[in-house]
Every structure is written in C-alpha cells, then in structure tokens.
Amino acid sequence: MRFGALLGALCLWLGPAAAALAQSYPAATEPPHTTDVSRLRALAVEREVHERFARGLKAEASSDWAAAIPEFERIIALDPPEPKGSTARYDLAIARARSGDYGAARLLLEAALERDPGFRAAAANLVTVDVLAGDLAAARTAADRFTELAPASARARYERGIIALRAGDLSTARDDFRALISGDPAYAVAHYDLAIVEIRSERFDTAETELESALAIDPTYARARFALGTVYVRIGRRTEARAAFDRAARDASDITLRSVALDLRDRL
C-alpha cells in the first residue's frame, strides 16, 4: 500500500519532467546572445554545418551515397574551419568512392591532406581509393606517404607490403611484413604474406617457418595450408605435400582453392 503511494508520487513528479525533456532540443550551437549581424550569420553557418554533417553521416550509415554527397558538398561550400573542412572532404571522398568516382575521391582526399597534413585516416583511404581505381603506381606513392606519416601504423605497413608484393618489390614487401609481425605477431595474414615473399624469393625454409606460424595461430587457414603444400613440393617432401593439399581442400571455403588443392593432391 505504502509502495503504491510512493510509485504514484514518483509518477506525478516525473510526468512534467518527461514532458519538458521531450520538448527540448540538443544544444548544438550556443544561443545567440548577440544582435551583431556578422556574428549571427557565423552562428547560422555553424548550425547548418552541424545539421548537414548529421544528415550526411546518417545517409552514409545507410549506404545512401547519393543523399550524402550534397550534404558534404554544401559543408565544403560553407568553408568551415579545421578540422571540419578536411573532415567534410574525407566524408565526401567516401561517398564518391563508394559511388565509383575514384578520381573525385582522390582529389578530395588530397585536398583534405593539404588542409591537414597529419590526417592519417585520409592518407590511409587515399591508398585504398588508388587500389580501387586499379592504379597500383599511384597506390604505391600514396602508401609511401602514409608510411612516412605513420611509420608504426600496422595498416600503412600492410597496405604498402601488399602493393609492393603485387608489383614484385620483394625487398620492401619483406621489410613491411616483418615490421607488421614485430608489432603484432598474432596476425596470421602477415605471416602468410611474408611466406609468399619468401616463396617468390625461393627461400623455402623461411617460407615454411612463416606458414607454420600462420597455421599455429589459425589451423584452418586454408590458403596458408595450400602454400605450405607447394613449399613441400618444391623441397621434395611429397607425402607432407599431399597431406597439406588434402587438409587445405577440406578447410577451404573458396571453391577454386579447393579444386586446385584436390587436383594437386591427386597428382602426388
């Protein structure tokens, strides 16, 4: 009985408070305690930038790139101070890249980095945009820039290592994957990629060690198991190669990898 009375009093007290909360707005901008026209205009711009960021990010969250693009374009036209100007360019670059306009995305990320040379996420996305555009030479230049900006960054080392490996620059790839492993020895993918460098350099003993490390971290790493099978073939350990291809075929979710592994197993 006493509890019921207490609950009723609480509801009476909370009712008006909840109604007041429902009618309030988030304090996005300071109330304009001024009659100065230029100050009022600046506050209006600030508020518009805030609202357009919210709308643009909401559109990007639902992959609605066409809706996001005009919001960020308007922010750029309003020319807000840093870091908002470079952030708007970065966000617009994502929408442009996701729409397939890699040239525009690249220019926007370059402009973001010009405004803020320490913007590492922009440097990272510039590498990815060049990769998506299929321009590996530009991607390498961007990756060198990113690595220079953030030498301890795992992402910088990984991206440049993969680009260098695909371009046949085994020395740079080896250095980057070794740096990546020293920063995070539990990252199996780095061991695998270092092993690919060593296989291409015909250093099969080192490749075997790296692949064993990758498989110790993730025993179901089918691509690493397959690579280990090829190393065994190269060094004449055919029984182990056969077992490796058999296990790779069982673990692989990639149909091509599975069929190639089965084919090689049956040839041994």
Binding site: L57, A61, T87, A121, T128, V131, A154, V189, T230, A261
Partner: protein
C-alpha cells in the same frame, strides 16, 4: 644364361619404376607452375576506413584515426581472409 635374363628383368623393372616416379614428380611440379601460383596470391587489400563525425577529430579521437595509427593489426581494420 637364365640368371642373366633375370638380372636384366630386375634392372629394367627398376628403371621403369624410377621413370614412372619421375613422371609423377614432373607432373606435380608442372601442375604447380601451371595453376598453383594463381592460388599463391597475396592477401586482399584493406577496405576504406569509415566516416568521421563533425567533432570526431577533435583530439584525433575517432575510430578511423585510431585504426590508421594502430600498431596492432587487430585494431587497424585489416583483412582476416584466412579461408
């Protein structure tokens, strides 16, 4: 005469076995050269880092900046293509 014939038979059989083994070995090597390297490609590239909010870079404390500068791979939004 008969003993000599047996010796020759054993020798030719051995040569045949060695030749067959060599043939299998060459075919496995050839298979690797023909399509094995296609499966020894490097891992995939990393995807784009995500958007940043209006105030996200104040103090550089936003997820994409943290991923871009992380020294540990698991915090850097890198691929985990292990299959």
């Amino acid at each position: 005469m008969r003993r000599l014939r047996i010796r020759w038979t054993v020798l030719l059989t051995l040569l045949g076995v060695i030749a067959a083994a060599g043939g299998v070995a060459v075919s496995a090597e050839e298979a690797l050269d023909s399509f094995g390297h296609g499966e020894l490609q490097p891992s995939s590239f990393a995807d784009l880092l995500g958007p940043i909010t209006e105030g996200g870079r104040t103090g550089w404390d936003c997820a994409p900046e943290r991923a871009a500068r992380a020294a540990a791979a698991r915090a850097a939004e890198l691929p985990a293509d292990s299959r």
